[in-house]
Subunit: 600 residues, 2 copies
């Protein structure tokens, strides 16, 4: 079982821990210490060893930071996590503040009118983050960089993973890493850069065609790397994670070094070195400055390359989605959710679904903790069920299940909302409006060059017409056996990265009624160009193709709200789902799917 349901932290541990921290601060003459949820790689997941924020504050959310003064401590979290932080943390110790209303800058500027030392670990904050603080803080505040104070006081801090880095073979990647390195080298050449420093393991994993198991749910090995303009890479990784198979795979274009030599290697760079200020820790900048290595800020060149999946990756994703969809269908058919004597709780559903994915024999991990919310729990957008929040599902409830799997050939992410018995007209209407938006994106055609920002409204227009909306983006990028949340593209008003052929994104409008119910319908889709022959005016147009294969619950569709085109889309989608999944299902699931995919 990949997912667990225990509450991992209790508020009571904080008192002793913060006292130890303040002792250290006192000894080092530090007035404030900044603790972030990041590790040095600035990704979505961190290893157990790097969960410093959680260890200190007991807050387990996926984003946030804490500032500890000698007499006060503030935990900054965003709207998704306010309630959770208040439940998990000792409020006598931590005051919970809200991003973006409350800012660290205001907090420290208010606190320190006179001279004060604010310390942080330079490996755990990006260049952009620190330079923002630097530019906005009171002059009296001095920033100082220290070895991490938490690491000094954390007894039994988990050790770093020694799991192997493994090759990810051509069958799945579709492009040799030597070729990728050459492309990156050319990008560097054109930009006048001698080398790029890569600090994100998923960038390195893509560039070198390697994977690992250091982070839950993102299949990467923690490491650093540089790539030069000739397409030669230097990989810095704990040598315990390296075996002959990996060495053979990496070949002569990738020089292997132990991770402890990373800093000293950076000092030897010559030429103009490229770093991504939004992603690289400020420690990198310090090393380069000290060694007088010239550098220039620019985006990690892997991001745009990785985002556009090649034909082999897309083929892999299609296969992964058929396999994953079949598991979802086995699950849906077995739980018999429309039956009047349905009697399960959220955790049972999560376990049951995971067992079906596991039974495919190909599941490497789930791609994130399944969100399984029934009734009011589903209205909490980032809900994760645990033993305490677990809810018995009642007849008449709707249940939102957002889940995904990591397979060697692709990463999946699917949400279905299902009705346990009959539901109210209001729920039927809301579900149908969400579905209309989801169909509108699925069947959208749009001119080349547009970004998520330009088309996000398409998914919302039907909800808007009834005064409704949802407070999250319409979709995020997705990796190929990599992060389930992968930039740079997204379907969001905040995203202006042009949508390019091969980009995989989620299409997941929703509707959430606080304390009542939540709805989301999510398919993964990918961008493809419409051939010129099919384009009447010779314009360069793009469209989406759907990857996710699983029926959408027809019991909560109000057909009278659908246009003929929308009905046609659903029937066509269901006929494809049936065709693709039927051959690999058990008999009973086949029977269930047949009904689920019948035309409306």
């Amino acid at each position: 079982m990949f997912q667990t349901f225990d509450e991992k932290t209790i508020p009571e541990t904080a008192k002793d821990r913060i006292n130890s921290l303040r002792e250290k601060m006192c000894i080092q003459n530090i007035d404030a210490f900044l603790i972030t949820r990041n590790d040095a790689h600035m990704g979505e997941y961190v290893s157990e060893r790097d969960k410093r924020l959680e260890w200190l504050t007991s807050f387990t959310g996926s984003a946030g930071y804490c500032i500890v003064f000698k007499d006060q401590a503030f935990l900054f979290v965003d709207g998704r996590y306010t309630l959770q932080a208040e439940n998990q943390c000792d409020k006598n110790i931590f005051k919970i503040l809200n991003i973006p209303k409350d800012t660290l800058i205001d907090c420290i500027n208010k606190k320190f009118q006179k001279s004060a030392f604010l310390a942080y670990d330079p490996w755990l904050h990006t260049i952009e983050q620190i330079e923002e603080i630097q530019s906005k803080k009171n002059e009296s505040i001095e920033l100082i960089e220290v070895d991490n104070l938490i690491d000094k006081i954390w007894i039994n801090q988990p050790v770093s993973s020694k799991d192997l880095m493994v090759p990810h073979i051509l069958k799945y990647t579709g492009q040799k890493h030597e070729e990728k390195l050459r492309v990156i080298g050319n990008i560097l050449s054109h930009a006048g850069h001698s080398d790029v420093i890569l600090t994100q393991p998923d960038s390195i994993a893509w560039a070198l065609n390697t994977r690992g198991t250091d982070l839950i749910q993102t299949p990467v090995a923690l490491c650093f790397a540089t790539i030069n303009s000739k397409g030669i890479a230097n990989l810095f990784i704990d040598q315990k994670k390296v075996n002959k198979k990996l060495k053979d795979h990496l070949g002569s274009d990738v020089k292997l070094h132990d991770i402890k030599y990373f800093s000293s290697f950076l000092e030897t760079l010559t030429g103009l070195v490229r770093i991504d200020k939004q992603r690289a820790p400020i420690a990198i900048k310090r090393i380069l400055e000290k060694a007088k290595v010239a550098f220039s800020y620019d985006i990690d060149p892997v991001l745009n390359l990785r985002a556009c999946k090649n034909q082999i990756e897309l083929e892999g994703s299609i296969q992964a989605h058929i396999r994953d969809g079949a598991a979802v269908v086995e699950f849906l058919s077995e739980i018999q959710y429309t039956s009047a004597d349905f009697s399960k709780d959220e955790i049972e559903l999560v376990k049951h679904l995971e067992s079906k994915r596991y039974a495919t024999g190909k599941l490497k991990n789930i791609s994130f903790d399944t969100i399984c919310g029934s009734g009011p729990n589903a209205a909490i957008i980032h809900y994760r069920v645990n033993n305490k929040s677990n809810r018995k599902i009642s007849f008449g409830d709707i249940v939102l299940i957002d889940s995904g799997g990591q397979y060697l050939d692709g990463t999946t992410d699917i949400t279905r909302t299902i009705a346990i018995g009959p539901v109210s007209e209001e729920v039927m209407q809301a579900n149908t409006l969400v579905l209309k938006g989801m169909i509108a994106i699925s069947s959208l055609k749009f001119p080349k060059g547009l970004s998520g920002r330009d088309i996000d409204a398409i998914a919302r227009q039907y909800l808007w017409s009834e005064g409704l909306d949802f407070d999250h983006g319409t979709g995020h990028g997705v990796g190929s056996f990599l992060s389930v949340h992968e930039g740079p593209q997204a379907l969001s008003r905040q995203n202006n990265v042009p949508l390019e052929p091969g980009m995989i994104i989620s299409n997941e409008p929703g509707y959430y009624k606080k304390n009542s119910y939540g709805i989301r319908i999510e398919n993964l889709i990918y961008v493809r160009e419409i051939s010129k022959e099919r384009s009447r005016d010779g314009r360069n147009m793009m469209e989406f193709e759907t990857l996710t294969m699983a029926p959408i619950d027809k019991n909560i569709i109000e057909c009278s709200l659908l246009s003929e085109l929308e009905k046609k889309w659903i029937n066509n989608y269901h006929s494809i789902v049936y065709k693709k999944l039927n051959p690999i299902l058990t008999k009973s699931a086949q029977k269930w799917l047949k009904t689920a995919c019948e035309p409306i």
Copy 2:
């Protein structure tokens, strides 16, 4: 008759004029002189006296600039005007370049590798424009500011208008100018500014509740002004344009000065002066710098205030649109465009339409030259008919008519596309797709805070679905008896100004098939808040209300492509049009309107 159809310029005049200019350049040791289409007020229209670019190059388009070297001359125009410039200019003298592909910077940097003097009139270029050149030019190029060389060689240059500036009364403005000045004063106070310098006559016209007749089609008097943080204004204007009535209107909060004292007055300012670098001529900056007056860049505070029309202005606009719509209906009913023996040309239609607006007795001017394009002419987005381009309209053509009027109570802008007899299925389909987009915007509800950028796609989705699109924004802001193109808001992917209650914008999707036909359907609409009681989830939602009142040609609607909601919108719109216009129409127009407004 306001509109004329003569070609105003001929290519042959350029030769002598450019020779004179080069003589002057030689005498003053200038290697290049920059001529812009702007006057010192940087608006869309310029007076005859300020048409320096047109005088020199013969190019009459509404945007462009020219750089004259000793041996070469380049005219920069955008895609709308490439063809027109090539027809109007002597191509032996001017090489036509395309904005944004070709840039002035590249042109001068390529031309001048060695030391050279590039001269310009500092009153005719904005701070932003000049500073961009300054930052990107070769070091060897020196920018120098001179009195305008064109003015020195232009024999018979028209004199400045002596037309009166007139009060625009409370009945139309809904807010006293003293009150507006106080609001502007408060904005300045809050921003820490002592004064703002206003260089745009339509900003000043709004702030002081005055109008004028110095520019064709925009009812303003040319002038400059300053307003201070106490809400006291200083108005700089040719004293011949001032009479007692105006003085009485302006009262004690507005100090009058002759325009010749503007520069010397600026030198006397103390405190921190606000200037809008996108709108103020660089000459203003030079004056302040020389006099050591502190200044800060910020947007003209009038823009956002003026954009949100008050209840009186909206009421006025509604009345103006009923009057204007009635004129349009009289016109449409009289030309009998569906009759098989229809036989008119484009100019006849323009004249006929203007005569109907004129007959209202309230028309102050047309708000822009009517675009009346039939057949292939309509595919030219900025087409203006003249005696040469005028085209006899054939049975089976469609005609695009985009026109508007300036009335004391409001500015109108309407486009209708009409079919002269039966048209092809292709045209029917394209017209219906355009209409669907126009209806989608008209009936859209959307969350507060969104801008044109966020909803522009709503108007295009149906065209996109067939691989079609249009290469202009979906809509522009419109003034109240002021400019028909008024910022800061717009329905465009380029515009991120939040849409606020009271903003008037056009909603004008189109479709243009080169060398074949053009379609556009345009209504003016305004933004209003949806009352909380009507908003189910308590979200702040906005919607549009339609101002324009004239039927949409049903003969080119393919009803099978419309949803029930779209049909309902059209029928409802036509029933309102009928109700509002019928009482003020002639008998024959009433009869025509009845048929035109019958439900589909």
